[in-house]
Point group: D2
Chain length 365, copies 4
Amino acid sequence: MSAMMRAAVFVEPGRIEVVDKKIPDVGPNDALVRITTTTICGTDIHILKGEYAVEKGLTVGHEPVGVIEKLGSAVHGYQEGQRVIAGAICPNFHSYAAQDGVPSQDGSYLNPKNACGCHGYHATAGWRFGNKIDGTQAEYVLVPDAQANLAPVPDGLTDEQVLMCPDIMSTGFKGAENAHIKIGDTVVIFAQGPIGLCATAGARLLGATTIIAVDGNEHRLGIARQMGADVTLNFKNCDVVEEVMKLTRGKGADSSIEALGLQQTFESALRVLKPGGTLSSLGVYSEDLTIPVDAFAAGLGDHKILTALCPGGKERMRRLMEVIDSGRVDLGLLVTHEYKLDDIVAAYDLFANQRDGVLKIAVKP
Amino acid sequence: MSAMMRAAVFVEPGRIEVVDKKIPDVGPNDALVRITTTTICGTDIHILKGEYAVEKGLTVGHEPVGVIEKLGSAVHGYQEGQRVIAGAICPNFHSYAAQDGVPSQDGSYLNPKNACGCHGYHATAGWRFGNKIDGTQAEYVLVPDAQANLAPVPDGLTDEQVLMCPDIMSTGFKGAENAHIKIGDTVVIFAQGPIGLCATAGARLLGATTIIAVDGNEHRLGIARQMGADVTLNFKNCDVVEEVMKLTRGKGADSSIEALGLQQTFESALRVLKPGGTLSSLGVYSEDLTIPVDAFAAGLGDHKILTALCPGGKERMRRLMEVIDSGRVDLGLLVTHEYKLDDIVAAYDLFANQRDGVLKIAVKP
Amino acid sequence: MSAMMRAAVFVEPGRIEVVDKKIPDVGPNDALVRITTTTICGTDIHILKGEYAVEKGLTVGHEPVGVIEKLGSAVHGYQEGQRVIAGAICPNFHSYAAQDGVPSQDGSYLNPKNACGCHGYHATAGWRFGNKIDGTQAEYVLVPDAQANLAPVPDGLTDEQVLMCPDIMSTGFKGAENAHIKIGDTVVIFAQGPIGLCATAGARLLGATTIIAVDGNEHRLGIARQMGADVTLNFKNCDVVEEVMKLTRGKGADSSIEALGLQQTFESALRVLKPGGTLSSLGVYSEDLTIPVDAFAAGLGDHKILTALCPGGKERMRRLMEVIDSGRVDLGLLVTHEYKLDDIVAAYDLFANQRDGVLKIAVKP
Amino acid sequence: MSAMMRAAVFVEPGRIEVVDKKIPDVGPNDALVRITTTTICGTDIHILKGEYAVEKGLTVGHEPVGVIEKLGSAVHGYQEGQRVIAGAICPNFHSYAAQDGVPSQDGSYLNPKNACGCHGYHATAGWRFGNKIDGTQAEYVLVPDAQANLAPVPDGLTDEQVLMCPDIMSTGFKGAENAHIKIGDTVVIFAQGPIGLCATAGARLLGATTIIAVDGNEHRLGIARQMGADVTLNFKNCDVVEEVMKLTRGKGADSSIEALGLQQTFESALRVLKPGGTLSSLGVYSEDLTIPVDAFAAGLGDHKILTALCPGGKERMRRLMEVIDSGRVDLGLLVTHEYKLDDIVAAYDLFANQRDGVLKIAVKP
């Protein structure tokens, strides 16, 4: 193992570059993973643009597929050379937050000396790769709390088949889980980017029988139908709320999933609901949201609004890979492009500008 | 039974008056109840002021305690002369909405001829008394779907002891139930009016061990302590969010209950939460709400926001009266005043202006 | 409408015969439905054999597909001539039991004069057709609490397509719902008769990714694969518990569904579980059950055992028909035979003896 | 720190003795705790009698209260000298089982080299102290996965006040949690030993309003009333099932808790239930159980049977200590006797023979 590696780092707003960096040392609870495939997320674009601040010089990226290079002395049950993934969110499951049911919100590592005193809850703090510690767009990544976070890839699955599991699929499926789908439900999914498409696939997997996918892009609506949508609505051509009311004969949808992060989609996701319905929100909002008092039935509509951060951990990853392995869902068609790590600047450019029908890019060190 | 009765009706904005009105006929699924005690709700004040529109001439009020005067031909298992209450919300439990888990949102009666076609969901439509049909501030009230809604009062309980059950207690306790309290939780209840006080009592009953009651009125905070609050915070004297963070050593509350209906309390109820926490909203909002993006962790905080309309039905009423009967909770001290029905105009005046430490008024036909 | 109809009635143990019977009168909350298709259930065989006692002269059968002939005066939102089904279990949703979440256990009608005093819970008492009141193997059936129980059939669905909804599908799917399936779960379904096959289809619909169907009949295992089973095990050829442990690499299944009603299947359903797993029981047991202390981990295995009676009501029926209408599940292939009502004795003979690969029989008045 | 300590070890069936033993070394994820108070559990009696097999020479006991003597190098957020407890069950929360929601069933440590391959589920395997590793009836105990399991004791609480948290309270309260108590529920708790008494206190804390405690010992029934029971039934003087049916006017209890481990109590716990009710089982059974077919409504009663192993982890311990600290529940009165560690043989004798009104014994090294 050479002492140095290539890694894409945040330099300054507008600049992510591939540089040489030291391969990290492995502590007792860590694992060093050699990346074979990773990808770029919408969040990385926010980092690139300086809209979300990370430390200069930090390696970016949070979606690892790779091979165990070296295991910490206290990590058991794995072999070096084994193919693994890890979630975009790598919680310490020993934490108060994890034991309390919200591992993604674990910030116990942020100030470990005080982990006990402050209970260690910090919003989104379970997200470490490419945020608080070096990320996955590199030749190697150090996985913290490896015993909790390394998930072996089943034989026979390719990197591309499991590349969505660490973030996109885990997030999208959580959106469907938070929609509390019951047999025979009608679910409306707003926005059919990679996460919205996974939410659509998740709603199908969980038993919704009328799945309505909304977007302004006909190509994505086409993929939505492949993912399981029964009905697609192009918001450029119709009034989505009105259409849903027609389709449900005035009742409204049982639940809706917001997968974009805008006032307009959030508001429509509320307006399509039946009284008693659930809004499952996945979007990352950059501005204050308004809840229109009429759509909210003045607070008397038995509505539920749930948000989620991508669930992580090896059990979550195992379950998602089971879905892939069983053939229930094929996310391979979301990987539309491939780039070498050394060409990642071009990949960012393509992805940031959403050219060429790009959905997700496989990046290969 | 005389053919006429006294009833408080909405005349025009600013005027509710007691008039003579025909005692209604009893259909096969109805029951006629002779009111022995009823009360005035904050919603009635909105009706009085014309802020919430009802038909002119409608009898107002929705909190009945009384005696069965006459049973419909298809209503079984009750006796005339039996003491009963009914919920403020009187759902038709045969409806799609009720079978789907949200009886309070049942509007199947609104257009009964079309009940089947439209599924019959309409926000708050389960609320009929003093809203869509004649209410309880009268000598007699007709209870619809009586088989579902008449709840016998246990022997030994006074009218005053059960007067909170139809609305205030059912709503406040639902606020506590929606807070999903686990053993050892910290819960913050915003506003200690009658509903907030019941939410405080409900949080205590359900096992929260740090109950923080917030209000600007020291007298109400004193009653909050009697209802089970461990800590009371007067928002006039402190920064509530900061205090909660101190009390929870930076973690935030497990859940919060909003019991007023203002932007400020809604927002504070969100800001006191731990990531992963639940905001249980009871307030009736009259304006659009803003969700500050920081308090919402940009949509990534695993937050839950739940609203509720007062649950009704005889099983709900039975359970609430069990709570009273077991001595777990004493809501008698919320009934601070008594008026005759014929003096209800004065009672409205006292209640609307919140004079004389009034919490709830027993109104006696 | 003629005053008389043909109806299959229980005469004495061993004899069910088609006789002439008066068409019943329609009370205010009833509906008279002209049966177009019904079927025979395993329970009917128990009645035929005298193993389950019903009153002599009672019309048997509890799975109605038909057309509204006449509506009670208090039933709204339907039209005479409309195609409908009703659940095998026809609860009074106004009852305490229904409002408490277990409508199938509502016995409020059993002694209506005392409905209020006794709370009206009686095990299985929600089952009325062909048990406590005249059933569906007749030209006409009277549906009680029609407002709650009549479910319109979507245009375009045939009688055969919805014939499983009233009982077999509702029961089988409830078995899958009680299994608390999470994304990526392994579920084992014991016995692939009509209900087990529906449980298999339900587990597939709800997101299980390793579905293991068990039976001793290869033909049924073949249908199980069509219904969504990933793996089929013939208990005559292998040790089922051992095979499940192999397939789950020693962990055990997340849940199991018992769909037969024997000690052996119940016990195996327990033995295949992981610690923390759920046994969802659908079988009708005729003898005491034994829980082996080792399989039960001495009571320390965080096991759950849940039983269920078929859910009824128009909302349940609506949802199940949505599943059919969406094309998610095709239960048409479970209807293997057709008989005229007047030939029902022969149909009973075929079904009781499980000849000719019979699964379910369409019976046509 | 001396290199040797006193420890009570299992010698052979019938003999537990205090011997000198080496103080263990501290690995990176361990903590060494100096025991200040521990206690004897019913399970220890089974070990003493040879009814439950442990390795000869193993230190017994699993209920630690103490002071951190030394922290492993990878354990953060604690200070040496800090007062702590740990659960009787010390799971590795990084494991598949814990991430899957059943930490108590985590056996990943049993064969750590293979932790990954076998998923690591083994019934009761989360129980390590005094079962698979040296326990707490000693001067020192090594806490595994200390980051997950060390729970600081709030200032002002005595050892005796928190001595029930690691096992008795956690188990008893889990019994109440598994009973799924709703506001106004009736709950019957069978057996009022220490765990049953905690289940009674837990049912009170969670909002049951009719709590019926059953035992054959009047002294214990008296303590049950102090713990919150509304009604006590001495099974020697009445037919418990019949009495519960009278108290619930024929409906049955909403849930029951079995806290002994015998066929008779299990069966009665089933027979007192309403259709739709929940049996929450805590007992450790030593023989096969029989489910009488009539009590089980032939499998059609919508019954739930749930078992549980004591939940562990620092968050659980924190919550239980909050309950004590809030004054909601006082378990001090369960500690009836005190012995020195060197006199533990006499303490075992007293406890095994249930002499002198013993409930729990504080053992002091």
